[in-house]
């Protein structure tokens, strides 16, 4: 017995399956609502995890830009020794960048940052104008590796060239450390919450489909006996849970976006959050977030209903 493939009939069948699935959403309206609601909560938590992480990361990066190791050089230090030190630092894998600040540049920077304090500048001029030392400003990839740079510069061989070392502004460092530990906590807590709610929504959707299978068991047996294919019986259940996923995904993304827009617009003028805000409000990212959230919802839905059908829809023994 050969099955003929007939495009027209396949399309008709496909639309019938979709229609039946959509119809079934409303046959058990309260169960469907519960399934969508719990999936919505799970998706909002998952999405918030992502948003908070991106925000924290960007904020820490922004703060870290100001955090550098300054290695002050002695006046008239040996050029070769200095080069050697520079090389040792550049070749370290933890180093992001290294800048040489000459005595003149240091002077200019100082002057510009204290340009309103004429007394101080006058005093400086009296001292001869070249009081400030030259220095290397080193930024690292990972803030916890700041000390490593210090260790390199502190080696005995550079004793003659290095005057002193400072590890960035301490207030900035503390802020970053606090932000980093907050990020860690938020990530752990939200991954935990997201997993729990994902499992709960899988269970609820599983149960919704299980009940649907039981209430429609007579109908399903009928369908089998009059020659419905397994696909024709399974299809509507998959369509049903796909609809849950799409609805929950759209509502979840909209909810998170309304939070981003309402809170974000207030703090977007702060340097640490500007990038994040612009990132999330760009159209392409917004589309990606919507598509991604819907996709996660649909996957959770299909996974749960497939699980329920595997267990309760006895299609194996036809």
């Amino acid at each position: 017995m050969k099955r003929e493939f007939d495009f027209k009939h396949e399309m008709i069948t496909f639309f019938r399956i979709v229609r039946t699935g959509a119809h079934n959403v409303f046959r058990n309206a309260w169960l469907s609502l519960a399934a969508v609601a719990v999936m919505l909560v799970a998706l909002v938590i998952i999405l918030s995890t992502v948003v908070l992480n991106v925000t924290a990361n960007n904020a820490i990066n922004e703060l870290s830009k100001n955090l550098k190791v300054s290695i002050y050089l002695k006046d008239g230090a040996d050029k070769n020794k200095t080069k050697e030190l520079e090389k040792a630092i550049v070749t370290n894998p933890e180093v992001e960048s290294i800048d040489f600040v000459s005595k003149d540049t240091a002077q200019e920077r100082f002057t510009s940052s204290f340009k309103n304090d004429t007394q101080l500048l006058e005093g400086l001029t009296l001292l001869g104008g070249d009081t400030l030392p030259a220095s290397y400003e080193v930024s690292v990839k990972d803030l916890s590796k700041l000390n490593e740079i210090e260790t390199i510069a502190n080696q005995d061989q550079y004793k003659d060239v290095v005057d002193s070392i400072t590890l960035g502004r301490t207030d900035a460092r503390k802020t970053i450390e606090r932000a980093a530990s907050a990020q860690k906590f938020i990530t752990t807590a939200s991954i935990f919450a997201a997993s729990i709610f994902t499992i709960i929504s899988i269970l609820i959707i599983f149960n919704t489909i299980r009940i649907a299978i039981f209430t429609r068991s007579e109908e399903i047996r009928n369908m089998k006996l009059i020659g419905a294919t397994p696909g024709y019986i399974r299809g509507p259940f998959l369509v049903e849970t796909t609809i849950y996923g799409v609805v929950a995904g759209i509502v979840a993304a909209t909810a998170v976006y309304s939070i981003i827009l309402s809170i974000g617009s207030k703090i977007a003028n702060q340097e640490e959050f500007a990038d994040t805000y612009n990132f999330f409000t760009s159209p392409s990212v917004a589309v990606a977030v919507y598509v991604g959230t819907i996709l996660v919802g649909v996957l959770v839905g299909i996974f749960s209903s497939a699980l329920a059908m595997e267990k309760y829809l006895k299609l194996k023994r036809w």
Binding site: M1, I12, E218, L225, I226, W318
Partner: protein, 227 residues
């Protein structure tokens, strides 16, 4: 049309054989009545034909299809060629008469236009013209069974299996149903009917097969209920 060669069926749980070495040959367009006490194996025999059950041993060939070579994924195709009617009708209560019959055509991918064209014809044959928009709960038992028959034959199967279709019906309605089956048989469909109704058996004067304790004990053309 139907050929059973030394077919046996034993249920694992019961241990006892439900059917033992059944040999049966049914010609196309035949009308065959299967009788016998409850638990004799009539329903098992029918379930073997619809592939709800598999034989423990023996060969089944229906409409040229050898069941040994039938793959699971082709079972829906087989069922589309065999119409089945049950004692308890098995109609979908949330669908109208028209929708119940149309359902059998929807699952095979028939277009709405074809369905609109075919269903009224079949409802006319089973005498349910004008009841298209009624729900099963609004019909009498006999009418419900005729809806079930309409659904079973709407795809013009080669074989119609009716498992005690009159079991729940009063005599008048039972005869309505039997007459519809005869009509369908006249159109060229092989009919297999199981029944406990003596009057039906005696008046139909068709081939009667008696099954007792899983064996065929008599097989007579123009047979009667009591020998």
């Amino acid at each position: 049309m139907i050929l059973l060669d030394r077919v046996s069926k034993a249920y694992v749980k019961k241990g006892e054989a439900a059917l033992e070495r059944i040999n049966l040959h049914v010609e196309p367009k035949e009308f065959v009545i299967i009788i016998g006490p409850s638990g004799a194996g009539k329903s098992t025999l029918l379930k073997l034909l619809t592939r709800e059950e598999r034989p423990t041993s023996g060969k089944i060939i229906v409409g040229g299809i050898d069941y040994d070579k039938l793959k699971d994924r082709n079972i829906p195709q087989l069922r589309r060629k065999i119409g089945v009617v049950f004692q308890d009708f098995k109609l979908l209560s949330n669908k109208t008469v028209f929708e119940n019959v149309a359902f059998a055509l929807e699952i095979v991918g028939m277009s709405n236009r074809e369905i609109q064209h075919t269903v009224p014809k079949v409802l006319n044959i089973v005498g349910l013209k004008g009841k298209e928009n009624n729900y099963p709960s609004e019909l009498s038992g006999g009418e419900r069974q005729r809806v079930a028959i309409a659904r079973a034959v709407v795809r013009q199967p080669k074989i119609l299996i009716a498992d005690e279709p009159t079991g729940n019906l009063d005599p008048k309605h039972a005869w309505d149903v039997i007459r519809v089956l005869e009509k369908i048989n006249r159109y060229g469909t092989t009919v297999l009917l199981t029944t406990h109704n003596q009057e039906v058996v005696n008046r139909l004067k068709r081939r009667v097969i008696r099954i007792e304790k899983g064996r065929i004990v008599s097989d007579k053309a123009g047979g009667a209920y009591k020998e």
